[in-house]
């Protein structure tokens, strides 16, 4: 057992209101600069829909992530040799139009316009060519089911097989915010010919070294979530950094901090690195989720703590792991699920699936629905979160419904039903964390990785802005 610490995020999709605050704040902080205009480290998609970049989920087309070939785990984009031959041309490289051509407006027209016959307007101009542009696609073109054909092109809907007619009476939709998953088995790290992408020792954050990156662009198609991007100005790869400068100070990522719906949770998980390969190689993709749960370890188990300390994990990190809200949600209550586990990268951003309104055909007969009576088809959620395992979805949704039942009973003074999975006290804790979702309870991060800086303290003191002997400090 080799214990490592990982910063992990959970998103409660039951509460996401699709406001896109997370996208805007991330963009304003990280990607509002030349070369990065089209990048959304964090984006929010409406499902059903094609997402950003278009149809990123279709791995038949994009060949992202891993596959099991015999007994070996291989990148779908090809073997090492195969990829060396594609070094200068990668056929599954997404193009700008798969994302969108970024634009702005000639706002100055409004301010500098002379007296005219007709009111001036600000018209769109491409941020790439600086020329007038017609807007034909955007990073969130099918928001709220805009453009029915986009919803119908959703590869998850196609996989379900049966005709899910998107008719007004039974229409369903949900929001899916996503950023880099900082996977345990990242395809991007494996694909880079220069070794420029690395997964940090101390917290598992996956980063691209701008010094080492040579712009081979093999990471971009390899990521099945398409969350590594190419900066067309610097010719290097960039990606979500989990706001590591904030994490190192005990602060959550900007998206987590600014989330209006309070849907995001951040905390530490301790996991057994020795078990990662086996979990990723699990033959039946429907079993991957269970095997990942198996490698997430109990932070109160003395054996786990001993191994962690041997690996040099600090007390602050261990303390954070013990009060981790993400551990409670993922392992304690088993409410959160990984996105597309069949990609085999073992993502560390997890999702609590949403409840939904009662389907029309059940409306008259049902008061408190069970998970099968809800509008969002269980099969659809299974395509997203469990590689098609509907049983797990039903169990998770039932836990959420049970929590509602218990709280309702408390409100009206009835006794809760017997034979629930947890006791009433546990459901109240669940309610407190998920529904009230206080900032101080959603985020439990250790601060200040002090080791290195402590040694260099003498050199660092008072040196900001001053030139030290031998050059800049």
């Amino acid at each position: 057992m080799k214990i490592k610490a990982q910063v992990c995020m959970v998103m409660n999709l039951d509460k996401c209101i699709g406001c896109h605050t997370c996208s805007i704040t991330c963009k304003n902080v990280w990607t509002n600069r030349p070369g990065a205009e089209y990048m959304y480290f964090n984006n929010v998609e409406t499902k059903p829909g094609v997402g950003y970049p278009r149809n990123w989920e279709d791995q038949e087309k994009w060949k992202g992530g891993w596959e099991v070939d015999g007994s070996e785990l291989k990148l779908r984009t090809g073997s090492k040799l195969g990829r060396i031959l594609k070094l200068f041309y990668h056929p599954q490289q997404p193009e700008l139009d798969d994302y969108y051509e970024p634009w702005t407006y000639d706002y100055e027209t409004l301010i500098t316009s002379p007296r005219r016959k007709h009111q001036p307007v600000a018209r769109p101009r491409s941020l790439i060519t600086q020329r007038r542009m017609e807007i034909k696609w955007g990073p969130n073109w099918d928001d709220d089911l805009a453009g029915g054909d986009s919803a119908r092109s959703d590869v998850n809907l196609k996989k379900i097989g049966e005709e899910i007619a998107l008719e007004f009476s039974d229409i369903f939709m949900k929001y899916l915010p996503r950023n880099c998953n900082h996977c345990l088995n990242p395809a991007c790290v494996a694909a880079c010919p220069s070794g420029a992408i690395y997964k940090r020792e101390e917290d598992g954050v996956v980063l691209v070294s701008q010094d080492i990156c040579r712009g081979w662009r093999h990471c971009i198609p390899s990521c099945p979530y398409k969350k590594v991007f190419y900066n067309w100005k610097t010719n290097k790869a960039e990606k979500c950094t989990f706001c590591y400068p904030r994490l190192e100070n005990g602060l959550p990522s900007v998206c987590t901090d600014t989330c209006v719906g309070r849907i995001r949770y951040m905390g530490i998980l301790l996991y057994d690195m020795d078990a990662v390969k086996a979990a990723a190689k699990t033959k039946d993709s429907k079993e991957i989720y269970a095997n990942v749960l198996g490698l997430i370890k109990n932070p109160n188990d003395p054996e786990v703590l001993e191994s962690a300390r041997r690996e040099g994990i600090s007390e602050a990190v261990l303390n954070a792991a013990k009060i981790s809200p993400v551990y409670q949600i993922i392992q304690g209550w088993k409410l959160a699920l990984p996105l597309h586990p069949e990609f085999r990268t073992l993502p560390m951003v997890w999702y609590i699936p949403p409840l939904s309104p009662i389907a029309k055909k059940f409306e008259e007969k049902v008061y408190l629905p069970n998970s099968e009576a809800m509008r969002i088809p269980v099969k659809y959620l299974a395509e997203l979160f469990t590689a098609g395992n509907t049983q797990i979805i039903l169990q998770v949704l039932q836990r959420l419904l049970d929590m509602r039942t218990v709280m309702r009973c408390k409100e009206v003074g009835e006794s809760p039903p017997q034979n629930l999975e947890f006791d009433a006290y546990e459901y109240e804790k669940m309610y407190k964390l998920l529904a009230l979702a206080k900032y101080s309870e959603r985020i439990k991060l250790p601060a200040g990785v002090q080791g290195k800086t402590h040694e260099q303290l003498r050199e660092l003191q008072g040196s900001a802005g001053y030139i030290c002997p031998g050059g800049f400090c």
């Binding site: 702005t104 016959k117 018209r123 805009a146």
Partner: protein
Amino acid sequence: MQGKLDLLVDLDFRMAASALYADVVLPTATWYEKDDLSSTDMHPFVHPFQAAVDPLWEARSDWDIFRTLAQAVSKVATEAKLPIYKDVFAVPIQHDSEGETAQPEGKILDWSKGDCEPIPGKTMPAIAMIERDYTKIYDKWIALGENIKKGNGIKGLGWKSDDLYEEIRPRNGIIEDKNLISYGLPSMYTAKQACDAVMGLSTTTNGKVAVRAWADLERKTGLDNLTDLAADRQSERFTHEMMFEWGEAMSVYKPMLTFKPLKNPLKQTKEITLKFLTPHNKWSTHSMYFDSQQLLTLFRGGQTVWLNEKDAAEIGVKDNDWCEVYNRNGVVISRAVVSPRLPRGVMFMYHAQDRHINVPMSKISGTRGGTHNTPTRIHMKPTHMIGGYGQLSYGFNYYGTTGNQRDIYVVVRKAQEVIWHED
């Protein structure tokens, strides 16, 4: 610009439609650049702002702008030697006053037809006189006048406020210029002083004052436990004859009238008539933020109108096609969002998308396409003008005739041409 408006002045920090059509635009500070208060009568709290940075160039807080205007007007009035004017005007029967009992049986008695005696404040609006001294507007603007010492009140309740006034004096400082009529009164020169004055007087921000208001309510009702009053609102049932005539004595469903949106639709190409609804936009707070590049990028980059897929198919409109949406009131020219999310027979134009971003000209109207309010027209609904009957009485900026301008139909067709006219 033709029409009845002589002068339009806009205090704004965005060059959106209001500023484009104004004669004068005065640049105002944004939220982090000023001291101010924000609230509404629906909120039991107040948001005070404090300036974090200075506004740019000559932009300043709204309070400062009005003070500057007051100073200019007073100067001109003094130079022109304007005398004190006496104005007579009608005051509507007020909300939360005894005047609400003016029509006890819900029957309209019209004094001008001889049904009753004309009694100001009872059977007709009250008549009041006010003195206007234009040379002193500035003097009065920068100070808190003494009238408030006589007492304050709202919603039919009153309380004393002379001590509160005296507390504001040392807190804010006084007007020190002997030449002004407001010499010695508490200063409200700066926006911060104005905010402090308001917060010292308001029941929302000064607990002492809230207690007084409740105490007055206790006196008036003879009750101690006032939360009992919150129950049992009779506001859902009306017995005024005008409400009966309109069939609105109780909340009932009234289907939309089927009337033609205009006498003769153009019929130059396939068209469809849809009900026009204008829900709140997710990409803006009314028109605020809609024109920000970040938010425009997150959807379609300009005005959109939503319609059902099958309705769109009937007129040959695909997703993102330009459409003309028109009726007797005006024309909108916008790109279509075709979706199964809407029912048939309906068009949504979320408000407010303004009309200064990516809006072409319309051949039908000969001018630039309009906004969500272009196909609508304000109808003054008679039931809104009842007055002097319970809570249906006038209250400034609180209850008064609002327009009802939905229940509108529009004719939709694929745009014939998209022209921009940058002349």
